[in-house]
């Protein structure tokens, strides 16, 4: 488990080095090299693990090549994030080393989420992911909204963690095991205790991935937190929550006589998430808030991978993780360069910065799910997984309708950039050739994944 160890060690290393190195630039380069090192070390790990689970640390971790591939995708997205937005992250406040260290601690939690084999590790991974987020959300100390976001997130997060622990305790009472593979719910009649446990865990995880009706913290937190932090917590961490979700529900609760008990609940959660996320996003005036609601609606699509439970859904969540994270990180990176966060602030961007407008269009196309972008294939995989599962056709039709609604608010931004005259204010000095080229490479990656998903899927 090179990725787990390297992210944890780099986190501590960056925390200490932030005290001794004054140059923000040097710390940023250290952090980037840390992600690259973890990326390479994880590739080396890849040969040792196959499709069947390898148990490590007495069954605490169960590593598969799916988990490792997921970690690889996450580390790649973090690399893109650091290259695009690392300067903004370093400039939130005085504590540059700490910001990067907290990001690495979150990564450590995501790695655990992709490889846990035990309910205790699930709890630990969710907590390691959450606690640094509370701090990062409040890292803009001069902004009252940032404080509000941090406190709200903390209270809501603590609440949902309570649900998670109660659910785990009830399941332990019903089955006598914390291990997700030997829990063996299928071999016995499901009693009230196990059912209550499953539902409580489902609610807690729905909280963490901001699925409706547990999404109320999301817009305020994503809006209040510094934009560069929002970019991270709405992509990497949300996707990390999903991998924990999908692994638990497929491995522990996935057998057909168990899943009939929770399938309807999660289907309703999915439907509510799709409708609420998309319809509310239509009414937003701020692009940052629109992206917050869009992250709720994209969570609705990712929930399809949880409820479908077949090979297509495993492939779908991998593609969705890459497509959604890359496109959203790109959108946020451009948003950070704007001085006005409303739709009108984008007016006339195509004349002023044609490359930025073009890249933003590609990212938005991917979020809508236009063919030949990664977002299209990701949506195709999760929806066809649901069709293959059967009995979920009403949900798939609803999702397609919601994707059509989502085109409205994404295209509104493209409309503002290309067809509205205006004088948008851009931070010109921050748009360096390096930034532009990384942005172009990210957009290229979005398109390559859209026409050749084998780049990711060939590995499992």
């Amino acid at each position: 488990m090179n990725a787990l160890i390297s992210t944890a060690v780099f986190g501590i290393f960056l925390m200490i080095s932030g005290l001794f190195i004054k140059s923000k630039q040097a710390i940023r380069i250290l952090a980037i090299s840390g992600v690259v090192a973890a990326f390479v070390l994880n590739i080396i790990d890849f040969r040792q693990y196959g499709a069947s689970a390898t148990e490590l640390f007495h069954g605490m971790l169960s590593v598969t090549n799916f988990g490792l591939l997921f970690i690889e995708i996450i580390l790649g997205c973090v690399l893109v994030y650091f290259l695009l937005s690392g300067k903004d992250l370093a400039n939130i406040g005085h504590y540059t080393g700490e910001y990067f260290a907290l990001i690495f601690f979150i990564l450590c939690g995501v790695v655990l989420a992709a490889t846990y084999g035990n309910m205790l590790m699930l709890f630990l991974s969710i907590e390691i992911m959450s606690i640094p987020q509370y701090i990062l959300a409040g890292s803009d100390k001069h902004n009252l909204k940032s404080h509000e976001a941090s406190l709200k997130y903390f209270l809501m997060g603590a609440f949902s963690t309570g649900f998670l622990l109660m659910g785990i305790a009830l399941l332990y009472g019903a089955t006598g095991s914390f291990d997700i593979t030997t829990m063996n719910l299928a071999g016995r009649p499901i009693d009230a205790m196990a059912l209550a446990g499953i539902i409580l865990i489902a609610f807690a995880l729905a909280f963490k991935v901001s699925a409706a009706p547990f999404h109320f913290w999301t817009p305020d937190v994503y809006d209040g937190a510094p934009t560069v932090v929002t970019s991270f917590i709405s992509t990497i961490v949300k996707v990390g929550g999903f991998v924990a979700f999908i692994r638990l529900f497929h491995i522990a609760f996935g057998s057909p006589d168990v899943d009939k008990h929770w399938l309807l609940v999660l289907s309703i959660i999915t439907a509510a998430t799709l409708i609420i996320g998309n319809v509310t996003a239509v009414f937003q005036q701020s692009v940052k808030r629109m992206l917050a609601y869009s992250s709720i609606s994209q969570a609705g699509f990712m929930l399809f991978a949880v409820i479908a439970m077949n090979v297509l859904s495993w492939q779908g969540i991998l593609l969705y993780a890459a497509a959604y994270s890359l496109a959203t990180i790109g959108c946020f990176a451009i948003l950070m360069k704007m001085k006005d966060y409303t739709y009108d602030g984008y007016n006339g961007l195509a004349q002023k910065q044609p490359l930025l407008a073009l890249m933003n269009t590609i990212f938005l196309f991917s979020l809508v799910g236009i063919p030949a972008t990664a977002g299209f294939l990701a949506k195709y995989f999760v929806l066809s997984a649901a069709v293959e599962k059967g009995g979920l056709l009403w949900l798939v039709i609803l999702a397609v309708c919601c994707a059509a609604i989502s085109a409205f608010y994404y295209f509104r931004l493209i409309w503002a950039m290309y067809f509205k005259a205006g004088d948008c204010q851009v931070e010109e000095h921050a748009i360096t050739p390096a930034f532009k080229s990384v942005l172009a490479l990210t957009a290229l990656l979005v398109i390559i994944l859209g026409v050749w998903p084998g780049l990711i899927l060939a590995w499992i």
Partner: protein
């Protein structure tokens, strides 16, 4: 969650309803039967019976809070190490390695805390002196401004 396989769950349901009724009843009845005063000092801040000297919204140092937090952290760490010490022969070298890693993380955290100055308690002469000088300078500055205005 009452279900046919768990007929013994209904006392729990009744207990839950009773708890709600009791808590709700207390609030409800005291709303109607409770005494009400509307006198000169009813809305005053209660400060141990004497008259309030000022607002409660003032800044105060949070050192005690920090000490309490460090106490909890280091106390908990001691608990982990003691629980290792009890099982030292059973867990063997693997356990020793785990504790070494654990203590190494503690050392890293200690270095961090030391360096950011979280362990400096009590009044610090240099800081007070600097603040005092700053204040004197500020006063002088104000006087200059006042003279110009006059």
């Amino acid at each position: 969650m009452p279900s046919p396989s768990y007929p013994t769950l209904w006392p729990f349901l009744i207990y839950g309803i009773l708890v709600l009724l009791l808590a709700g009843g207390m609030l409800f009845i005291s709303h109607f039967l409770g005494e009400r005063h509307q006198e000169k000092e009813t809305d005053e801040v209660y400060e141990a019976g004497i008259e309030a000297t000022g607002t409660a919204r003032l800044l105060f140092p949070v050192h005690f809070y920090l000490i309490a937090m460090f106490f909890v952290i280091f106390d908990l760490e001691a608990v982990f190490i003691i629980s290792w010490a009890i099982a030292i022969r059973d867990v063997g070298w693997g356990g020793y390695l785990a504790v070494v890693i654990f203590v190494a993380i503690l050392v890293a955290v200690l270095i961090y805390e030391w360096r950011i100055g979280a362990l400096n308690f009590g009044p610090q002469g240099k800081k007070i002196l600097r603040a005092y000088r700053h204040k004197i300078k500020g006063v002088n500055h104000n006087e200059v401004v006042d003279k110009q205005n006059n």
